[in-house]
Symmetry: C2
Subunit: 319 residues, 2 copies
C-alpha cells in the first residue's frame, strides 16, 4: 500500500477474541496508532479464584503487543504453567488454563479494580505497560455477561466455551446486565469521531452482539460508515463455535447468516473468496460486498486484509 | 530415641514462621501424626491482588510437606517467578515475592474462602492435598492483624517485615481485631486434650503473642504442661527481627527477655547452650530450664531438638 495511505482515517474496530484480535493487529499495522480504537467485548469475562479474567481484552492486548501465543490463540507465547500444575495438585479447578505470565495480567487487573479503577482505566495501564500504541477499550465498565442457554441448562460463557468445550447444544443466549450496563464515554466519543467502524471477524452472537446491545450503540453506528469481515468461511467458523451455534439455533452456518445478524447496521461486508457465490444474497440484505482472502494466515496477511477493509470503507464513504 | 517413645503423648505446638515450622517439622518426625496439632499465627496474614496470603501457615505447611525452600525460609523449593517478572513489567507491586507454585496456594485458598469455607477448613484441604499428616490449624478464623507502630508511622506487618525489611524502628504493636476474634473450636479442643503445649522458637511479640491474645487461650494454657524453645541465641534472633524489636523497645535482646514475655504461662524453657550462663535468671522467673543446641541446622537436628523438648515436658509432668 502507499505510505501513509490511511493517515487521515479514524477507525473504530469492534472485536471479540482471536479473529478480532488478528484484524485489529492488521489495522494497527497500517494505521497511525492514535487513529485506531479497538472496542472489545467483555461479556465473556468471568471471575476465577477471585480474579477478574477478561479473555477477549487479553487476547486483543497480547496480540497487539506481539506476545500472543500463536499456537493456542489465547495466553502468552512461551508461558509456563507451574502455578496451574500446583493448582491441580491442590485439587483446585483447573479447567481454565492460566499461564504464569498471563496470571500477572489478571492479578494486576484485579488489584486495580479493587483499588477503584474502571476497567477502561485498568486496560489503559496494562496497554501502556505492554507498549501498545492503539487504544483498546472495553465496551462497558459495567457488568455484562453472556449466559448460554443449552440443552443442559444455563451456563456462564466460559463454562460453556472452555469447561464444556462448546459441547452442549445452544438454545439461546441471555445477556445478563444489559438493562443497566452503559457503553463507556470513551467508546461513544470514539464512535463520534470515527470515519469508519470495522466489525472484525468475531462471533456476531456472543462477541460483537453484546457490544451492539449496549444502549445507544446501534443508534450511533447506524449513521456511520460500517464494514464487517465475515467470521465464517465456507460454512465453517475459522475459530470458535459460531457455525455450531447457528446450526443448533436452526440457522444456516454461513457468511450470509452472519451478515444478516448485523443488518441493518452494515454498509459493506467482506466475504471470503471461497464464498463468492453468495455475493448476491448478501447484497440483497442491503450491503455492498467485497471478496477477499479473509483467513489471515500470517502477519502480512493481517495487514493486507486490514488495508483491503479500509479501502473498501473509503470507497463506501465516497459513494 | 526409643521407638514409639512418644506414642502416647498428645502435643499442641504454637508456631509462627520459619523457626516454628522447623520445630513443628521435628515434632512431626517423632510423634504419630494424629498426636500433633500445630497452631499457627495468622496476624501477619494480608491481602495482595485480592488474594489472601497466610505467610506463617504457608511456611508451616510447606515445611511439613517437605517442599519448603531451604535457602529463603519462605516459598517452595525450586519455584519459578515468571508471574512475578510479568507483574513487574506491568508496574504492579512486586515487593512480596510470589513464586508461581506458591501462588497456587493463595489462589486455591482465596477461592475456598470466597466459597464460604473457614480458614480452618481451607487449611485442612490444603494439608490433605500436600500429604501432611499432623493437623495444622490457624489460631483463629477471624480477622486478626498485627500493626507495627514505628518511628515512620503505623505499618501493616508485611509492609514492615517484607516491604520495609524491618528497617523502621518499632515503638509498639496494635493487634487489630483482637476484641472480636475468637480462637477456633478446634484449637480449644486440642488444648483440652494436650499433654503438653510447646511454644516453638518463634517471635513472642508478633508470632506467638497474637495466638496467646485470643480470649480464653491464656487461661486454658495456664493449667497445661508448657515448654518453650528460645527464639534467641546469644542475643541474636535466629531469623527475623525479634532482637532488633527488643532493642528498639528498650529491652534486652536475650533469651531471658523472651522467657519473661511468656511468664507466667511457662513451666519449662529450653535455653541454647550458648546462653547457659543465663539459666539462673530464667529459673528466677519461675521456670525450669533445659539447655540444648537449639539451632536445628538440618532435619535430624529438628528431630533431636523435638525429642529433647518432649522429654523435658514429660519430666515436668512427672514432677
Amino acid at each position: 500500500m502507499a505510505l501513509n495511505e490511511f493517515d487521515d482515517l479514524k477507525i473504530v474496530a469492534l472485536a471479540g477474541g482471536v479473529g478480532g484480535a488478528k484484524l485489529a493487529h492488521g489495522l494497527a499495522g497500517v494505521l497511525p496508532p492514535e487513529n485506531l480504537t479497538v472496542i472489545v467485548n467483555v461479556a465473556d469475562d468471568f471471575e476465577l479464584y477471585g480474579l477478574t479474567i477478561c479473555p477477549d481484552l487479553d487476547t486483543v492486548m497480547y496480540t497487539l503487543a506481539g506476545i500472543a501465543s500463536p499456537e493456542t490463540g489465547w495466553g502468552i507465547a512461551g508461558d509456563t504453567f507451574h502455578c496451574m500444575e500446583s493448582l491441580i495438585q491442590l485439587s483446585a479447578p483447573a479447567w481454565f488454563r492460566l499461564g504464569d505470565r498471563d496470571l500477572a495480567t489478571h492479578l494486576a487487573r484485579t488489584r486495580r479494580l479493587w483499588d477503584g479503577e474502571t476497567l477502561t482505566q485498568v486496560t489503559r495501564h496494562l496497554c501502556a505497560s505492554l507498549g501498545i500504541g492503539p487504544r483498546i477499550l472495553p465496551c462497558t465498565d459495567d457488568l455484562l455477561r453472556t449466559i448460554v442457554e443449552t440443552d443442559e441448562g444455563d451456563l456462564e460463557f466460559q463454562e460453556y466455551f472452555v469447561r464444556r468445550k462448546c459441547d452442549p447444544a445452544v438454545r439461546g443466549f441471555i445477556l445478563r446486565g444489559k438493562e443497566a450496563a452503559l457503553p463507556t464515554r470513551e467508546f461513544l466519543a470514539a464512535l463520534e469521531e470515527a470515519d469508519a467502524v470495522v466489525f472484525c471477524p468475531s462471533n456476531p452472537l456472543v462477541s460483537l452482539g453484546p457490544i451492539l446491545a449496549l444502549p445507544g450503540v446501534r443508534e450511533r453506528i447506524a449513521g456511520a460508515n460500517t464494514v464487517a469481515v465475515t467470521p465464517i468461511i465456507g460454512g465453517r467458523a475459522v475459530k470458535g463455535p459460531l457455525a455450531k451455534m447457528f446450526s443448533e439455533l436452526g440457522r444456516e452456518s454461513s457468511a450470509v447468516e452472519a451478515a444478516r445478524e448485523y443488518r441493518p447496521l452494515l454498509r459493506g461486508f467482506v466475504l471470503d473468496r471461497e464464498d463468492a457465490s453468495r455475493t448476491g444474497e448478501i447484497e440483497s440484505l442491503g450491503m455492498r460486498v467485497e471478496t477477499a482472502d479473509t483467513l489471515m494466515r500470517d502477519e502480512p496477511g493481517r495487514r493486507e486484509l486490514a488495508a483491503r477493509v479500509l479501502r473498501f470503507a473509503q470507497s463506501l464513504a465516497a459513494e
